[in-house]
């Protein structure tokens, strides 16, 4: 083995030497696959903290260290890797990298310090990467990976024996070095399934004969049409084709170094699926790389990437679906769980009062004590918790050192370390109570409230927020957590409504962020997740919410795509708006984005001139009416201006944005959706900003100048009151 390791290192060295041309390198790696396969040890890359939303918890702690069934998420992932016989591991940390490092080094996994580690090497890579894309590109740059490797996320829970998949992958590799990647997917049936990501359905188009993935798309609940557009020649090329929507994407990919190469080549890819997978499959003609699927029907594999899946997986663990990764196999040394008849799983030294009922599917950590008359069902309680008398706890996940007073009821909540809940309290569903929060007696905590004590981070300055007696009661500690990352909202909702559009929305956000971040210098967004929602750019705090935007846009886009009529779209749209009580601004933004996107597409794909594109886009039946009524409602000037702003902002990062903007403005003016005053004032404002304005924004509107001038001529004079509303919005 050791020699094998050396050889690997040697190879790595060689790579460095060769450096540069990635295609060749990948090929090289592919070429030298067959021979020393058996000898080679397995490499894996763990993406610790790039996706997912666990606020307020993830504010203070790295997500992958949050306990699931009293065991940190990362442990499950590492167990899985150990189970699969991985030898060398690289852990990529996004946020909180220091803490993760501390944890790892203290754990049994860290080879230098613990002889017990099953891994030959374990490296923590701290990088500034904000997205999977960045991380992988960075990884590629470092030349660490020299052969096939496993790519997993730090929140993976799986008991899947991976050998079969590896073998299949290798076989394909040997046959054809272009088979660069194998994704492992778990069937989850067509019906409802708690562990399937609620809102977004990944759609895999596969060729069952070759286990090859041909096309990938994501569908979401509120999408107007349920159509995919599949490249027709796929149909001609492949005799058999399966379109699967019944799959859990557990994010286990078996990759070859070429994958990294591909990432590196396409710098704008941010997320593994919606960008990378989709993209690579799309231009199969160009790169000729094939990606394959290994669809498993046995065993367990899922990711706890948001609170919804956290809950689902917790349930799965309680239901032993993850066996042997269950509490009573005491994965972490020092644990001493015993599984008792009836599904109660408790550690040594638990003190149960005589009359308390610790019901089925319940886990109790060491030295936790439960008072008389209390009942627990389907819950997980950490260590050293003190639970008073006549407490009722249902479907709740309580971490270590929590104190719960007498007569309190907790239903479907997460209570983090060292929180203190007074007596006679009522914790309503979907409540998240963060570290050290103190709820004083007789307080009722509203549904979906998220309470924290963490310092709030405003533009990089940490400010301590005073406790809010409204929420935590007199003498309580903690305040209602709301932050600028809208996606938290929905992760919260997802916890209760189990409709997680997170997977995708987060991704979509990340793309926008990345592109925006070039433009708007003001985005000082959280270092903790790379997805500072794009809405952040128009500082709409709180209520506005990302998945609304996402669904709205996609919904409209679809209507535009197949020229469906807008009246139905409008209904849906309004429904959507109500359900997420989105603000007018968001609506405008959504609409703007939708149209610009569409137009941009037309321009790029159908190679129309912007003007034609705009014409066709706005020409869609009912579009005009729709815009008038919905987009710029009462025809208030501010609204119109805002709308233009939105258009402008969105076009910033589209090719020919400038042209399009011009075309759009013209169009909208002709359709008199927008009146000239609006245009003029918008222009002026922009002018006002002068150098304050980001040059992208400036660039985008250059082409529109013509139109404006034309207007000016038509108009004699122009009003010039200022109001910085829109200004505010732009940061």
């Amino acid at each position: 083995m050791s020699h094998a390791h050396k050889s690997a290192k040697g190879a790595a060295g060689g790579e460095k030497g060769r450096g540069a041309s990635k295609g060749k390198r990948g090929a090289g790696a592919g070429a030298k696959k067959p021979e020393d396969d058996r000898e080679e040890s397995l490499q894996a890359v763990v993406l610790a903290d790039f996706e997912g939303h666990f606020s307020p918890f993830s504010q203070e702690k790295p997500k992958c260290l949050l306990p699931l069934a009293n065991t940190p998420l990362l442990e499950y992932t590492l167990e899985f890797l150990a189970m699969s016989g991985v030898a060398d591991i690289y852990i990529y940390c996004g946020a909180h990298s220091a803490e993760i490092e501390k944890y790892i080094q203290a754990s049994k996994w860290y080879p230098p310090l613990s002889p017990a580690s099953p891994f030959k090497s374990l490296e923590l890579v701290k990088s500034t990467a904000r997205s999977v894309g960045d991380a992988l590109r960075d990884l590629d740059a470092r030349d660490l990976i020299t052969r096939d490797f496993l790519l997993v996320h730090g929140d993976l829970v799986s008991n899947l024996p991976i050998d079969a998949a590896l073998a299949a992958h290798r076989a394909r590799r040997i046959a054809d070095k272009n088979a660069i990647m194998t994704m492992i997917l778990r069937t989850a049936g067509l019906g409802q399934h708690r562990t399937k990501s609620g809102g977004v359905t990944p759609v895999f188009v596969c060729d069952p004969t070759k286990n090859r993935c041909l096309h990938y798309e994501e569908m979401h609940a509120l999408q107007a049409n349920k159509y995919l557009n599949i490249d027709p020649d796929l149909l001609s090329d492949h005799a058999e084709m399966e379109i699967r929507t019944d799959l859990i994407d557990c994010g286990i990919d078996i990759c070859t170094p070429d994958v990294l190469a591909l990432w590196a080549e396409s710098f704008d890819y941010e997320v593994p699926r919606r960008h990378f997978l989709h993209g690579v499959l799309k231009d199969y003609e160009l790169n000729g790389k094939t990606i394959h699927t290994e669809i498993v029907e046995e065993h367990y594999a899922a990711r706890a990437f948001n609170l919804q899946s956290y809950e689902a997986i917790s349930k799965d663990v309680l239901g032993r679906w993850t066996y042997p990764l269950v509490p009573d196999s005491n994965l972490i040394s020092g644990q001493s769980y015993k599984f008792e008849r009836g599904g109660l799983c408790k550690e040594n030294g638990v003190m149960l009062a005589r009359t308390c009922k610790a019901g089925k599917r319940t886990v109790l950590g060491r030295d936790t004590s439960i008072g008389d008359g209390s009942t627990l069902t389907n819950s997980i309680v950490g260590r050293r918790c003190i639970i008073g008398k006549n407490v009722t706890i249902r479907d709740a996940y309580i971490w270590d050192d929590v104190v719960i007073g007498d007569g309190t009821t907790v239903h479907r909540a997460i209570i983090a370390h060292e929180a203190v809940i007074g007596s006679q309290c009522k914790i309503n569903p979907a409540t998240l109570i963060s570290y050290g929060v103190r709820i004083s007696d007789n307080t009722e905590v509203k549904e979906k409230s998220r309470i924290t004590r963490a310092k709030r981070i405003e533009d990089d300055v940490e400010e301590v927020v005073p406790s809010d007696p409204e929420i935590v009661g007199e003498g309580g500690k903690g305040y209602l957590f709301h932050e600028d990352d809208e996606d938290e909202d929905e992760s919260n909702e997802s916890f209760i409504y189990s409709t997680a559009h997170l997977n995708i929305s987060s991704e979509s956000i990340s793309t926008i962020t990345s592109s925006i971040s070039i433009g708007s210098p003001t985005t000082s967004r959280s270092r903790l997740s790379s997805f500072a929602g794009s809405i952040s750019d128009d500082g709409e705090a709180g209520s506005s919410n990302e998945n609304f935007h996402h669904d709205a846009v996609s919904g409209l886009l679809d209507t535009l795509k197949e020229n469906g009529d807008f009246d139905s779209a409008k209904l849906e749209f309004m429904g959507l708006r109500l359900s997420n009580d989105a603000t007018d601004h968001q609506i405008r933004r959504a609409i703007a984005v939708a149209f610009t996107k569409r137009i941009a597409q037309l321009v790029e794909q159908e190679k129309l001139e912007p003007s034609k594109a705009a014409a066709s886009a706005f020409g869609t039946s009912g579009a005009e009416n729709f815009l008038k009524t919905v987009a710029v409602g009462a025809g208030k000037e501010e609204d119109q201006i805002d709308f233009i702003h939105c258009l402008q902002k969105d076009l910033v990062h589209r090719n020919q944005g400038a042209m399009i903007l011009a075309a759009v403005c013209q169009r909208l003016y002709q359709m008199d959706v927008l009146e000239e005053d609006a245009f003029l004032r918008w222009w002026e404002e922009c002018e006002m900003l002068a150098e304050g304005e980001a040059e992208e924004m400036a660039r985008v509107r250059t082409k529109t100048k013509v139109f404006i001038d034309w207007l000016r001529e038509a108009e004699s004079e122009s009003g010039s009151e200022e109001d910085d509303e829109s200004e505010d919005e732009s940061d």
Partner: protein, 351 residues
């Protein structure tokens, strides 16, 4: 009786040494004392008083005295365990082949009287420590009688242990109408330790058995085939437990192992007046059997020798025999034994 002759008056007491009297005194002094141990103590005192010099004298003395003691006590089964053990010990340790000579052995016995007692009690502790593990969380234990071992065991189980946290169990205690005070004590002891106790009459055992998880009883003697001799009523508990498929455990110190092989209830080597046929015209009694006159006496007096030696056992302190087939396991200070293991013990010990 020659033995009396051999005994010199001691510590001023001019009264000659009477083994029976000693035995009963010992029991009276220390309620914690079990009969076998008491018997051994008594025999040791005997040694103290005797001035037998040769091995065989001594052995003979011990033998005759034990016989005498047995004869004078009703239901000598339990105590005979003690006397037998004692003799056996003497014999084996006084074997010419063995290195320990008479004096050593005698000295050892004389000097360590109290030690034995404390050991006997220690044994009880150990049993409790093993036995507690039989009592699982949320289980229901059925027991009866005033066995100190069982008492110790249950109260031990009630304490929380370092590992495994606390055990929450409940007890169904079968009241014995004739031993109210004893039952009361046992029950209140448990309740004092926070163990919920239900008391049922003996008639309700069959009814209650369905709710029971395990049965634990004490024993007066453990016989050679692994069966036990114990308080009247134990046998029927065992039968019912068997019928309902519930485990039936016996907690007994190993010094209660008796060299006795009863073939059945009526082969215990003692006569018990449990079944008494009467008719109206018989003088003195109106009901077939009348315990009422005995009950109060047995109530305050220490249990086993309430009735005068000459009088045979009445139902009050009568015993019955539970065959090994009904015993799931015996909990002794040396561990948990299957009945077959017990019998092997005795076999190998006596032959």
């Amino acid at each position: 009786m020659s033995t009396v002759g051999d005994v010199v008056p001691r510590d001023g007491k001019s009264k000659p040494f009477d083994i029976v009297e000693t035995y009963q005194r010992l029991l009276a002094e220390d309620p914690e004392l079990t009969m076998p141990v008491a018997a051994i103590e008594a025999l040791i005192e005997l040694l103290v008083h005797s001035r037998a010099v040769t091995v065989f004298e001594t052995l003979d003395l011990v033998k005759t005295q034990s016989e005498y003691l047995k004869s004078r006590v009703t239901n000598s089964i339990s105590l005979s365990a003690g006397t037998d053990l004692f003799q056996r010990y003497m014999i084996s340790s006084l074997k010419p082949t063995s290195t320990g000579n008479f004096e050593t052995v005698r000295q050892h016995l004389l000097s360590n009287g109290r030690l034995f007692v404390s050991r006997a009690k220690a044994a009880r502790e150990r049993i409790a420590n093993y036995g507690r593990h039989f009592v699982r969380d949320a289980s229901v234990v059925l027991t009866h009688g005033g066995s100190r071992v069982v008492g110790a065991l249950l109260s031990k189980a009630a304490e929380a242990s370092a590992s495994g946290g606390n055990v929450r169990f409940r007890v169904i205690y079968v009241l014995n109408g004739d031993r109210v005070s004893e039952s009361k004590r046992a029950v209140s002891d448990l309740r004092a330790r926070g163990v919920p106790v239900a008391t049922i009459p003996e008639g309700a055992v069959g009814y209650a058995m369905g709710k029971v998880d395990l049965v634990i009883v004490g024993a007066e003697g453990v016989v050679e085939n692994g069966g036990i001799i114990s308080r009247l009523g134990t046998y029927q508990l065992a039968l019912l437990a068997k019928a309902a498929g519930k485990p039936f455990y016996v907690a007994a110190e190993s010094h209660k192992f008796v060299r006795l092989y009863p073939l059945g209830q009526y082969d215990l080597g003692i006569d018990q007046e449990v079944i008494e046929f009467r008719t109206e015209d018989e003088p003195g009694s109106t009901e077939p059997v009348d315990f009422t006159d005995i009950t109060p006496k047995s109530a305050e007096a220490p249990e086993y020798f309430s009735s005068s030696p000459t009088k045979p056992n009445t139902a009050v302190d009568a015993v019955d025999y539970t065959p090994p087939a009904l015993v799931s396991a015996l909990i002794t200070e040396s561990g948990v034994l299957t009945p077959s293991a017990v019998s092997e013990e005795l076999i190998s010990m006596w032959y």
